[in-house]
Amino acid sequence: MTLELFMVFVASTIRLSAPLLLAASGEYVSERAGIVNMSLEGMMLMGAFGGAVATAFTGSPYLGLAGALVAVLPIALLQSVLTNTLRANQVVTGLGINILVLGLTTLGYREIFGSRSREMIAGFDPISPPILGDLPLVGTVFYQAGLLYFAILMVALIAFVVSRTGLGIMLKAAGDNPHVTAISGTPVMAIRHGAVFFTGAMAALGGAFLSIVDIHTFTEGMTRGAGYLAIVAVIFGNWRIGRVMGACLLFGAATALQFQLPAMGIQLPNALLIMLPYVLALLAVAGLVGRQTAPRALSVPFWR
C-alpha cells in the first residue's frame, strides 16, 4: 500500500466512522443513565430522512440539520415515555420503534421523493482546517466535513461533563443505582428523559451525516444497521467514551476496507466485505464477554 493510498484509507476511515461516532456518543450518555436506547437505528434513519426532506425543500443543509433534529423529537419522546414513564421493556420498544420508523420513512420517501428520486440535495462541502490542512501528506486526512469536527468536539464535551461535573456524577449514579440516586435528591426521571432526548439529537445528526454530508440524498433504509453498530461500539468500548470512539474508528476502518481492498487489487466477494464491520463487531463483543462493566441498572426501569 502506498503512503498516499494509506492516507486516503485513513481519511475515509474517519469519514465513515463519523455517523457512528455521533450516534454512539449519544448512546453512551443514554446507557450511562441506565437506558439501552435500542431505537438508535430508527432515530438515525429518522434524522437522515428529516434532514434530507428539510434540505430538499429549503435548499439549505443547515436547515436540513435543524429538520433532522425536529424530526427525531417525536421518536425520542415515544422512546422516552415508553421506557421511562411506562417502564416498558427497553429492547422490545426500541425494536418496535425501529420497524415503525423504517415504515414511516419509506412511505414518506415514496410520497415526497417518489417522482424525483434521482435528484441530489444540497450538502456540506468538506472544510480544510488552517495549519492542519496545510500539512504535507497528512493534510488530506483533515479535509473533512464540519459535522465531523463537531462530533469530536461533542465527544470531548461529553467526556468532560461525565468526569468533571456534578451532572456527570448524577448521570453515572442514575445508571448504576437509580433508587439510591433518587434518595440523594437527584431528579432521576428528568436525567433519564434528558439522556434519551440527547441520544435522539445525536443520532439524528449521525443520520443527517449520512444523507446530507455523505451521499446527498435519501434512500430507503439507508442507515443499514449503523445504529446497531453504534450500540455495539458502546458495549465494545466498555462504557468508556474514549474506547467507544476507538470502536467507532475500528468499525469505520472495516467499512473503509470495503473500498480499499479492491483498489489494492485484492478481490473478495462484495458481500463478504459488507459483512466485515458486523462480523468484527460480533467477534469483539463475543471476546469481551465476562470482562465488561456495564452500568449496574442498565435496562432496568426506575420507579419509586
Partner: protein, 529 residues
C-alpha cells in the same frame, strides 16, 4: 425510673431534664397503617438537642417505620409532628433533609461504582467539581468527628464499617439538627461499634438530637440519655435513666419476663445434652474446605467441621466471614477450591444440588426469596418442588395427591395460607419460611439439615415454630448445621457452637450462656483458641 404508656404520664415528656432542653422534634399521637395492618399507633415522643435517644424494640416492632415517618419516606396516617415548635410534615426525604433532618439507613444509600467523594457530592453539585478541594473539605469534617474515611476509594471496594462511616459523613455534611441512625451497629465489629457510639455522642454534644435505633441492650447502657421501647407499634415503656432500668426495659421489649435469652426461643425447654457416642455416625463431615471467590480472594480457609446425627451445631460469626460461601457450597451452588465434604459418608464435594438432595441433605437457604422458593408458583408447588417426580405419572403431576399432601403438611407445620393453591408470594415471611422448612424436612432419607439464618425477619411466634421443628428433627437423629448471626438464638437452640472468623473456624464451645462472652470474643477475632 420507668414509665409505662397508658399510665398517668403518657405525655411523652420525661420528668427529669424537662427544663434542661426543650424538644427539638416532637411527635404527637402518631399512627401509621399499611393497608389493614397498623404498624404504629398512638406514638408520643420527644427528641431533644444534645441527647441520644434510643429506640428499642424487636424486629417488626415498628422502629424502622417510625424512622421512615420522621425522615419523610412514609407519611403518618394519624397525628402530627413539630420541629422547633413549628409543624413538620415532610412529604419526602428531600423535605426532611431541607429541614436538617438526616438519616443513616440500615441499608446503605451509597453507589458502589462511584468513589467516596462522588457519592458525597451526588445530588449536591451540578456544575464543575473540584474533587481535590471537596475531598479536603470532607476529610476535615470526618476528622472533626473522628471518622476515618478514604475519599478517593471506590465505595464497592470498601468494608461495611468504612461504608457506614461514609454514610454518616454524608449526613453530617448537612449539619443535621436531627440525626437518625437505623440499627447502625447490626453490621459492625465490636471495636467499630465502640467508635460509632462515640461518634453518636459527639454529634449530640455538638447540638443535634440523635435518634439511635437498636435492639442491643449493651449499647443503650453505654450511650442512651433516654430510651423508648416499642412493641407491636406502640411505645410500651420509656426511661431517662436506662442504665438503672435495664431489666424493666428488657421485660417491656419482649413482653414477657426476659432471662437475657433470645426472644422467641427463650420459652423453648432446654435440650437434653447431646450424648456423643462412638456409635453415632456423622451426618455432615467437612474436611479442610477452602474457597476462593471470583476475584481470587480467600473466603474460606481450611474449614473442618463435623455434625453428628442428632446434633445441632451452631455456626456463629459476624456476617461476611464466610458463612454465605459455606452455605453456597453445601447447597451445591458453588464448589470448593480445596478440601472435601460428605453427608452420611457420601462425598459431595463436586455434586450438583440434585445429588445433594438425593444424599439426604435438606437446605434452608439464606435468602428464601431468591433461592429458597419460587414466588410466582403456588404454595403446594413449592412444598413439592424437590419431589415433583414422586408425584408424577407419565410426566403429569397428580394435582390431587399434591393438594392432599400439601394440606397435611400445612397442618403439620402450621403454615397459614388461604390454601395449598395460594400464590407463595401471598404468604407472610414466617409462613413462607415454615413452608420452606417443611419441604426440606420432608426430603427423603433426610440425614442432614443446613439452616442459614432461618429466623431472619420473622416474628416471635414464627421463630419459635421454626426452632421447634428444627429441634424435633434433631431429636429424630438428623444432624443440623445452624448458621446464624444471632448468637442468643444459637445459644438457646444449638448443642455446640463453632465460630467462623475470616473464613476459618476459630473455636468451638458448648452452647451455654456461660460461654457467651468467650464466643463473642471469638467472633470479633480478638481471642484465639
Amino acid at each position: 425510673m420507668i414509665m409505662r404508656s397508658g399510665g398517668a404520664s403518657s405525655s411523652g415528656a420525661p420528668l427529669a431534664n424537662n427544663e434542661a432542653s426543650l424538644p427539638k422534634l416532637e411527635l404527637t399521637d402518631i399512627g401509621r397503617d399499611f393497608g389493614s395492618f397498623t404498624a404504629l399507633d398512638g406514638i408520643d415522643i420527644a427528641f431533644r438537642t444534645g441527647e441520644v435517644h434510643c429506640l428499642l424494640g424487636e424486629n417488626g416492632a415498628g422502629k424502622s417505620t417510625l424512622c421512615n415517618l420522621i425522615f419523610g419516606v412514609h407519611q403518618p396516617t394519624r397525628g402530627f409532628m413539630t420541629l422547633n415548635g413549628a409543624p413538620y410534615a415532610p412529604n419526602g426525604p428531600h423535605a426532611a433533609l431541607a429541614q436538617k433532618v438526616a438519616m443513616v439507613h440500615q441499608h446503605f444509600s451509597l453507589i458502589d461504582e462511584l468513589t467516596t467523594v462522588d457519592n458525597l457530592l451526588l445530588g449536591r453539585k451540578f456544575g464543575l467539581v473540584d474533587r481535590k478541594a471537596e475531598a479536603a473539605k470532607i476529610l476535615a469534617l470526618a476528622e472533626e468527628f473522628g471518622l476515618d474515611i478514604k475519599p478517593h476509594a471506590v465505595v464497592g471496594d470498601l468494608s461495611v464499617g468504612q461504608r457506614q462511616r461514609i454514610e454518616i459523613v454524608k449526613c453530617l455534611m448537612q449539619r443535621p439538627e436531627v440525626l437518625i441512625l437505623d440499627e447502625p451497629t447490626a453490621v459492625l465489629l465490636p471495636d467499630e461499634i465502640e467508635a460509632l457510639l462515640k461518634v453518636c455522642a459527639d454529634v449530640a454534644a455538638r447540638g443535634s438530637a440523635v435518634v439511635l435505633v437498636t435492639h442491643k441492650l449493651a449499647e443503650i447502657r453505654k450511650i442512651a440519655d433516654e430510651v423508648s421501647v416499642l412493641r407491636a407499634g406502640r411505645i410500651v415503656a420509656r426511661s431517662t435513666r436506662p442504665a438503672e432500668d435495664m431489666n424493666d426495659l428488657t421485660t417491656a421489649m419482649i413482653g414477657r419476663s426476659g432471662t437475657g435469652g433470645a426472644f422467641g426461643v427463650a420459652s423453648l425447654p432446654p435440650r437434653a445434652p447431646h450424648a456423643r457416642s462412638r456409635m453415632v455416625r456423622e451426618a455432615l463431615q467437612i474436611d479442610g474446605l477452602s474457597f476462593f471467590d471470583q476475584t481470587g480472594a480467600r473466603r474460606l480457609d481450611k474449614v473442618t467441621l463435623t455434625v453428628d446425627q442428632g446434633e445441632i451445631i451452631g455456626l456463629a460469626g459476624v456476617e461476611g466471614n464466610g458463612q454465605s460461601e459455606l452455605g453456597s457450597i453445601l447447597a451445591g451452588l458453588d464448589h470448593p477450591s480445596e478440601g472435601r465434604w460428605f453427608v452420611g459418608g457420601k462425598e459431595l464435594t463436586h455434586a450438583k444440588p440434585r445429588a445433594i438432595t438425593a444424599a439426604g441433605a435438606g437446605i434452608i437457604p439464606e435468602d428464601r426469596h431468591k433461592v429458597g422458593a419460587v414466588n410466582a408458583m403456588t404454595l403446594a408447588d413449592n412444598l413439592y418442588l424437590n419431589q415433583t417426580k414422586s408425584l408424577t405419572r407419565w410426566g403429569l403431576i397428580d394435582r390431587k395427591r399434591q393438594t392432599e399432601g400439601a394440606t397435611s403438611l400445612m397442618k403439620q407445620f402450621d403454615v397459614r395460607a388461604q390454601g395449598p393453591a395460594a400464590p407463595f408470594s401471598s404468604l407472610s415471611g414466617g409462613n413462607q419460611q415454615k413452608a420452606v422448612l417443611a419441604r426440606e424436612l420432608m426430603t427423603p432419607n433426610l440425614r442432614f439439615l443446613l439452616a442459614m439464618n432461618p429466623t431472619r425477619g420473622l416474628d416471635i411466634g414464627a421463630i419459635e415454630a421454626v426452632y421447634r421443628s428444627i429441634r424435633e428433627a434433631a431429636d429424630k437423629g438428623i444432624g443440623v448445621l445452624l448458621i446464624s448471626s444471632e448468637l442468643d438464638e444459637l445459644l438457646a437452640v444449638a448443642d455446640r457452637i463453632s465460630v467462623i472468623y475470616r473464613g476459618s473456624i476459630v473455636g468451638t464451645r458448648m452452647a451455654s450462656y456461660d460461654n457467651r462472652a468467650a464466643i463473642g470474643s471469638l467472633m470479633s477475632g480478638t481471642a484465639t483458641q
